[in-house]
Amino acid sequence: MSVDKRKQILKKYHDEGGSIISILQDTQDMFGYISEDMVFWLSGELNIPASNFFGVATFYAQFYLKPRGKNILTACCGTACHVKGSGAVNSRIRADLSLTEGENTTKDARFTLESVACVGACSIAPVLVANSKVYGKVTPDKASSMLKEFKKGAE
């Protein structure tokens, strides 16, 4: 983690109060997750207690304190998706990626499966987002073949 990169983040929020969330968001965009080192560095630079950063980072669902897989699969678990069978799709993906209960990232760190409350594309439920591309009307079989293609394409 280069110091220059870290300083870049702080420059943007130089004179604004209440920027902890924005700073953490930028940190995560840049490094993929929020490391302990980074929090202590930020705390020192800004003279804000590290506990404030950790408090915010653990409160909001979008912050990750551990590294994530190279490819992010996001399964929508909204109401419409639920009614239309997102549960079956989810179980299939978990099985295909051999994820055990409570585990979200594959052992080789190639894939991370996450769920989100709603991506707002309910008309094509169930929805799966793979690295920011939205796929609609997903069935378990479709998810399986998507994953196969994906595994071939992704490193």
């Binding site: 915010v56 909001y60 669902a61 094509i124």
Partner: protein, 588 residues
């Protein structure tokens, strides 16, 4: 041909099913056909959500003022449309929208969405050409108090769910002695099954910005914030573009509209916490803190962001403001019913044929929305069961009540809420206990943890619901759920906690027999709860296709060609694969 406009729906669903590819193909095909030079203006436009998402990608082709709409367009269909329709003047009949498309629109009244789906959301000129920023201009020629009076006259009630009078809220903020004031747009659309605000911002971001300028002027704010979910990257992007364009045109910044008045807007991204849709939590989140609600009063109109008087309005509320300014409060009040004026945008989804974004006058019946606009239940042979409104804070209204009018007060009376506008239709293959469990799982996860009743109460309720769906329900579980529900409602601080039991209480009110069937008879009438399933093949309905046979993971199904399938219950693992697969609903 003199004039050509092509509009391609680039709403959230349109983009997901390939509208960018369609746009590229059109541009390419027009150039290949030698048409680009002949038609001077930019003729391929991307627009926001056109509404009928189930038929995306939708494309309007307008030749010399005559408009035709194509459905399910893919990029490989484009060359034929260009050749037949645009060059030879004959629309490709087989791909045009059919009667259901027109039926979908017939009962709708589009005042807000009229512009979404018509204009290019990334071009400020497209908005000003149809009267955009004229409402703000008019507001600036009036006194702030007159602007507030006009909004009060319209009867506009907050579209975020609670339905508080917008004019009154503004007045309450204006009356403070403290001169630093803020206006915030709540675009933290967290209800699962809702995408109204997203579609409005993506389809017409300037309408929200203009609404905020007018609101800011009325209450006397110099700074506004748009708090938007990070899950909506496209909406954020389009907002950023729109803000930049508005600044260039001097609609934002110093001395706007020729008055000695400064106003500018900032975007703040949410970080994935449902509770931040609550007003006080949202303000803490903007301040960079954990989004935990605080007790009110003081209300945020008196002490809000950074302790200053603050108005928080929902996206749809703000998008209505320019129209009210331009056409007058009386005009707005001519839609809907007295006390519930104007129109409301709903996201119609679930087991209904025509899913999409709709706008209807308040007071319309649920039946008209679900049957006439929605086209009724999606799958043949299934029956409508209920509609869920208001997301996790709302409830389920049974099909027997579909005659009731849709307005703030009637919905509340029926045990649900209007909410921000999500409407998820359910057929008879939906289990209401499972549905209640689904929402409780959500609220349990999203509880901020401040109030004991919400933090622990939702967890206990979820445990009870889980054991009911696992066939381990106890005799007094229903009473326990009611008791927990009423306690959580009474003793929690914020809207999230107070409404968390609604999905359980409303399903208990209308579908108590279903809970009882689970507990007393060990049956899930809808066939959803796995632990209670005893699958068998209906000899009447089975069409001998063998699909269940190939799906079954535990070889419990025997089947041969031209013979009906059979399930060996001793081998069955109750996974439900056959039930999901069967095209004829023959697995019971």
């Amino acid at each position: 041909m003199k004039d050509l406009t092509i509009r391609v729906c680039a709403g959230p669903v349109g983009l997901a099913v390939g509208s960018q590819e369609v746009i590229d193909s059109f541009t390419k095909a027009l150039r290949a056909g030698g048409l680009k030079g002949k038609i001077e203006k930019k003729c391929v436009n991307k627009t926001g959500c056109m509404g009928f998402c189930a038929k995306d990608v939708l494309v309007d082709v307008i030749v010399d003022g005559k408009s035709s709409t194509y459905q399910f367009v893919t990029s490989d269909m484009v060359s034929l449309i260009v050749e037949e329709h645009i060059i030879n003047g004959k629309p490709v009949e087989k791909w045009l929208v059919s009667d259901d498309y027109h039926a979908f629109h017939e009962k709708q009244t589009k005042i807000l969405l009229k512009q979404c789906g018509h204009i290019d959301p990334e071009d400020i000129n497209a908005y000003t050409e149809i009267g955009g920023y004229k409402g703000a201009e008019k507001a600036f020629s009036m006194k702030p108090a007159e602007v507030i009076a006009e909004v009060k006259k319209s009867g506009l009630r907050g579209r975020g769910g609670a339905g508080f009078s917008t004019g009154q809220k503004w007045e309450g903020c204006r009356n403070n002695k403290e001169k630093t004031r803020y206006i915030i747009c709540n675009a933290d659309e967290g209800d699962p099954g809702a995408f109204m605000d997203r579609s409005i911002i993506e389809g017409n971001p300037h309408s929200v910005i203009e609404g905020m300028i007018i609101g800011g002027y009325a209450i006397g704010a110099a700074t506004g914030y748009i708090y938007i979910r990070a899950e909506y990257p496209l909406a954020v992007e389009r907002l950023r573009i729109a803000l930049e364009q508005a600044r260039k045109k001097k609609f934002l910044g110093k001395n706007i509209f020729g008055k000695k008045y400064d106003f500018d807007l900032k975007i703040k991204l949410g970080a994935g916490a449902f509770v931040c849709g609550e007003s006080t939590a949202l303000m803490f989140s903007i301040e960079g803190k954990r989004g935990m609600p605080r007790p009110t009063p003081p209300r945020s109109v008196n002490k809000g962001l950074w302790g200053k008087p603050t108005v928080l309005n929902n996206v749809e509320t703000l998008a209505n403001i320019p129209l009210i300014m331009l056409n007058g409060g009386k005009w707005f009040a001519s839609f809907g019913t007295p006390g519930n004026t104007g129109t409301k945008v709903f996201a119609l989804t679930g087991n209904v044929k025509n899913t999409g974004l709709i706008e209807v006058p308040l007071g319309i019946s649920l039946k008209e929305i679900i049957i006439d606009i929605g086209g009724g239940v999606e799958k043949k042979k299934r029956k409508l069961k209920a509609v869920q409104t208001g997301g996790p804070s709302g409830g389920c209204i049974p099909a027997s009540h579909f005659d009731m009018p849709v307005d703030f007060d009637s919905m509340k009376k029926a045990g649900s809420i209007m909410g921000s506008g999500g409407m998820v239709v359910m057929d008879d293959h939906t289990c209401m206990v499972d549905m209640a469990k689904f929402f409780l799982t959500f609220t349990k996860d999203e509880s901020c943890g401040k109030c004991v009743t919400c933090r622990i109460g939702t967890k206990r309720m979820l445990e009870v619901l889980t054991r009911i769906t696992e066939g381990k329900g106890r005799k007094d579980d229903i009473d326990l759920l009611l008791e927990l529900g009423f306690t959580i409602r009474k003793a929690s601080l914020c809207g999230l906690g107070m409404s968390a039991p609604n999905p359980v209480l409303s399903t208990l009110r209308f579908f108590r027999d279903e809970y009882e069937a689970h507990i007393k008879d060990g049956i899930c009438p809808a066939g959803v709860c796995k632990a209670m399933r005893r699958y068998k093949v209906s000899t009447e309905l089975c069409k001998k296709c063998g699909k269940c046979y190939s799906e079954c993971p535990s070889e419990a199904i025997t089947w041969e060609k031209k013979k009906k399938a059979k399930i060996d219950t001793s081998k069955c693992v109750k996974c439900g694969a056959c039930y999901e697969t069967c095209p004829f609903d023959a697995i019971l």
